[in-house]
Symmetry: C2
């Protein structure tokens, strides 16, 4: 079985790649389990050596839109002709899309459309997992969201990223109806704790305010402490993507997007969990410095999901933010904080 991951050198892409390579087999869309014999990772940069050294891994590097331009024969460099499934993670993040409307349309809408068209040209109806986002939900004073989001809640995105993700959900649904792909759109929650560096996502602080203090550094929480947020750990997020690959068409259900489960919490509760797990002196490294632009985006996102469809597939939210921090520490051991770096 050959699986393609776009954004394959990003945080979720690498984690998904390692999870897939670590499995004996995958039951794609409810079919009999088969070993993964090939994994193609499309991204601007190549994946790290541990993945490149795996004989099953192929790196396809370059700009996604450029790689998706079909050559004279029809195939594209981004989409090998023998793929069985695609997990489309590549996207411009919310902050970038808000700052540059045209970049967002090109990186999110146009790239997804070109990827779907490339899959269509294959004629083999690959499984197509599209990573949408809770950012499709947004509320404003004139149009408040219900306190708990259902799978049937009307998305009213309040930023360009959410609009583009929601448009792509529609395109994935139609390409599925037309028989071009077997699409599954999953709405990812904000992932926390992401390892690595901050990025331009408005949600970036939801990892940074824990990750940086654990590494002995100060970090800013740019939203008021009691802002409700909906989170998912990296492990739960990857579980959701793999379940989307494995669910049969019947178990998956309608072509509309599926909300993944979320832990509902607040930055204040996250800081309290950090103090409980790592000590009050670590939590004290958070600077509570509200930023109006980020607060406006984050406050428009929903804080609670009733992820019924996901629950029927056996997917659950993280038990607590304490558990999320402990998972993060286990996977990203902190260098000794008493060594003077803090």
């Amino acid at each position: 079985m050959h699986i393609l991951i776009t954004g394959g050198a990003g945080f979720l892409g690498l984690r998904l790649a390692r999870a897939l390579l670590g499995r004996d087999a995958l039951a794609l869309a409810g079919a009999a389990p088969q070993p993964i014999t090939r994994l193609s990772l499309v991204d601007r940069v190549a994946p790290p050596a541990d993945l490149l050294d795996d004989a099953r891994v192929q790196a396809i590097t370059g700009d996604l839109n450029a790689l998706l331009a079909p050559d004279a024969q029809g195939p594209t460099r981004a989409v090998p002709v023998d793929i069985d499934a695609v997990v489309h993670l590549a996207a411009a993040v919310s902050g970038e899309c808000e700052a540059d409307f045209d970049l967002g349309l090109a990186s999110n809408l146009d790239a997804t459309r070109a990827l779907l068209q490339a899959c269509r040209r294959l004629g083999t109806q690959p499984v197509f997992v599209f990573s949408s986002s809770l950012a499709v939900f947004g509320h404003t004073p004139e149009q408040p969201l219900p306190s708990v989001i259902e799978d049937e809640t009307l998305p009213t995105p309040q930023n360009s990223y959410g609009i583009q993700k929601f448009m792509c959900e529609q395109l994935v649904a139609d390409c599925t109806r037309k028989g071009f792909v077997r699409g599954r759109s999953v709405r990812l929650m904000t992932v926390s704790v992401r390892p690595g560096k901050p990025n331009a996502a408005a949600s970036s602080f939801m990892s940074g305010m824990v990750r940086e203090p654990l590494a002995g550094e100060r970090a800013v929480c740019p939203v008021p402490p009691d802002t409700p947020v909906a989170l998912s750990s990296p492990a739960r997020t990857i579980e959701g993507l793999i379940r989307a690959l494995e669910a049969s068409d019947a178990d998956w259900g309608p072509r509309t997007a599926m909300n993944l489960p979320a832990l509902s919490t607040t930055p204040r509760e996250m800081a309290a969990a950090l103090a409980r797990v790592a000590g009050a002196e670590v939590a004290a490294r958070i600077d509570w410095t509200p930023d109006e632009a980020i607060t406006r985006i984050v406050a428009s996102w929903p804080a609670g999901m009733n992820a019924r469809r996901a629950a029927r597939l056996g997917l659950v939210a993280d038990a607590s933010y304490d558990a999320i921090i402990r998972d993060h520490l286990r996977e990203n051991p902190v260098r000794n904080m008493a060594d003077g770096r803090g």
Copy 2:
């Protein structure tokens, strides 16, 4: 005031143009009423002489996507620089979009996107009325629609036309949020009775099954007689578009699309109304010959709208199908049916 109508030589475009030219003034988006001094009609063909002879009317003829390509200076041929409002009616219809996926994307999604970008380049935030459609709502056995559609009902389009219209609604909403245009998306119901000839819309029969028998010709109803349908007369439809031009931002409300009111009926009731208004021998000219492809599309559309937002703007559904037929006869006098043409 200068108003641009795309699809301006189509049935609704011409009717809207005549309605606007017949008014003394228009209170655009709640501003003080002003006379319409210029009306630009963009379409593949020029409008008829009565409109071309009006000194206020300018015809811009050609393919919309080609006309929307910006020249070196930025303006496009489709969008005069001094427009105050756009009513975007041009679209490929449902049957065409279902038969040719790429044509639908180009004619509906790409053209709307290019039109919004052209308006954005003006820098003047024109009012932008987008004609969406009840086709954004679709039901399937796995995902039934509620019996009555509310403004907040989640659209789950079941054909490419509905998908493209719904994607455009998102883009209009985001361009409004960004301050590029003042967007208002109105979901038109199936218009009945359209004068003229049948077209490739799956809903075409909903006019033809009345129009052709009134003209002494036989016509096919391709769906089962008790298929529920949601209709609006041409007059009510034009009222809705003009109200979208005139409503203040506050009265218009959220950036999500507004459902227009609909008369809920069935082909059987429409035929009975035809018999009452024009005689049983006229209604007997309907051939009840189900077509599976058309039935599948039409049966996926909703049959009842609770158009609360539209009602708050004073918009109401037609009183009865009898009244719709009488309006049609008044506006399109039937030549003597006893002269042997029937």
